[in-house]
């Protein structure tokens, strides 16, 4: 049997581990060169999650945290396709998301930002891609919030994304941003990527996705590592 190996991590598409302007990287990023690892069955397999891992409200963050009313803020739809580098859709793959509420406050106990918690908004959820690699979830547009990286530092509006993809090496943890956000040009996490690359993380407003009278639509396509042309002996 032969297995397709996966293409390498494209280091022109990812940040460096140590990025002094994002202070926490300085003591946490590995400093020694990574050791190249030829893919084996261990890298070319990975956890499989089916549609049964997503509950009925998991993909609707406007409903999954309700207690006594609707969450506050601007309702939005986030949709897109998950593709691999070869342009093939990645079907039936799990996407986990989390974010701050409209006021810029996370439900996480560690978040001490002086902005209100919304009793009707949790901020975490998940969805699966369909057979065409398309995903879609409803949420509230997240607010900006201050953080301690430097004087008067604010994170731009963003939604965290976590994908496992088809194998262990297709794992991707990233953040989706919003078009026209003035904080992007000041954010060391976004700016850890070079011009021409970072723009891939900015979603696109779409009037076609927007639902009349209900919610604005944003499109965010995701590209995971794809199979290379060299097969591996298994």
């Amino acid at each position: 049997m032969t297995l397709m190996t996966m293409r390498p991590r494209d280091w022109t598409s990812h940040p460096r581990y140590i990025e002094p302007s994002y202070r926490s990287t300085v003591l946490r990023g590995p400093t020694k060169p990574l050791i190249p690892l030829k893919h084996t069955l261990s890298e070319l397999t990975g956890p499989v999650f089916g549609h049964d891992s997503v509950g009925p409200l998991d993909a609707d963050l406007t409903r999954n945290g309700r207690r006594n009313g609707e969450p506050l803020g601007e309702r939005i739809i986030v949709t897109g396709r998950v593709l691999d580098e070869n342009g093939r859709p990645v079907p039936n793959t799990l996407i986990e998301v989390w974010q701050a509420n409209a006021a810029g406050r996370y439900i996480h106990k560690v978040d001490q930002h002086d902005a209100p918690i919304d009793p009707n908004f949790f901020g975490g959820g998940r969805c699966m891609t369909d057979a065409t690699g398309t995903y879609r979830f409803y949420t509230i547009k997240p607010g900006a919030y201050p953080w301690g990286n430097h004087a008067n530092a604010w994170r731009p509006n963003h939604i965290h994304f976590s994908l496992l993809g088809p194998t262990f090496v297709t794992r991707l943890v990233t953040q989706m941003y919003f078009p026209g956000d003035p904080l992007l040009d000041l954010d060391p996490i976004y700016l850890s990527l070079p011009t021409g690359v970072r723009e891939r993380l900015v979603s696109r407003f779409s009037i076609d996705v927007t639902e009349f009278g209900f919610a604005l639509g944003y499109v965010f396509d995701i590209v995971l590592r794809g199979a290379s042309q060299t097969p591996m002996e298994a």
Binding site: Y17, Y22, R28, S42, T45, G46, V110, F122, V173, V223
Partner: protein, 196 residues
């Protein structure tokens, strides 16, 4: 068609209520946790525990560790495994370091078998945390597999003086077998991370 990879960004400090909700006591089910074994799974029960240390030697309390491993016979629960996917043992675990008083990650699992007869038994690891812009790949090998470790092609590709950072120490304790695997992000004992 040739598309470019979506760039990685840090998982940040607030992942717990979404990615490890049950462990941290948030009202969302979790897709995985620290317990990989279920009652009827074959194999030697083991616990893997360790901490993550930053460049100043301080334990990290907001890291997330994910493991992916074969079952006791070396089979992965995945359709690409040529010997046929196992079903009882899923092989995926996920734990944050923020709930244990000592900031340990703890996995209760079975010791994996060799996946292809060439590689020594090992567990695949993803490390991610605030301050890590790209997740890091490493592997856990076992101290009681010296012969297999000496022949392992991946371990052999690591400079000899750094191999020990990938080997978990086996200890028999009154409550069972515990392997200790600490992860050092930096410093003289910096863990080997792979460009996988």
């Amino acid at each position: 068609m040739n598309l470019r990879q979506t760039p990685s960004q840090t998982v940040g400090p607030y992942f717990a209520y979404a990615l490890t909700a049950e462990q941290y006591g948030y009202p969302l089910t979790s897709i995985a946790g620290g317990t990989l074994v279920t009652g009827d799974v074959e194999g030697e029960r083991i616990r893997i525990e360790g901490r993550v240390f930053d460049g100043e030697g301080k334990p990290v309390d907001d890291a997330m560790i994910e493991i992916w491993q074969a079952d006791a016979k070396g089979r992965y629960a995945h359709p690409a495994d040529p010997r046929g996917s196992n079903t009882a043992f899923k092989g995926f675990g996920r734990m944050g370091t923020g709930t244990d008083r000592e900031n340990r990650f703890i996995f209760d699992t079975v010791k994996p078998g060799s996946v292809d007869g060439r590689q020594a038994p090992h567990i695949n690891v993803i490390v991610t945390m605030r301050g890590l812009l790209v997740h890091a790949f490493t592997r856990i090998y076992f101290s009681d597999e010296a012969t297999a470790n000496a022949r392992d092609p991946v371990l052999s590709s690591v400079p000899a003086e750094r191999r020990a950072t990938l080997i978990a120490e086996r200890k028999e304790t009154p409550t069972g077998i515990v392997y200790r695997f600490d992860i050092h992000m930096q410093g003289p004992n910096e863990t080997v991370f792979f460009d996988a």
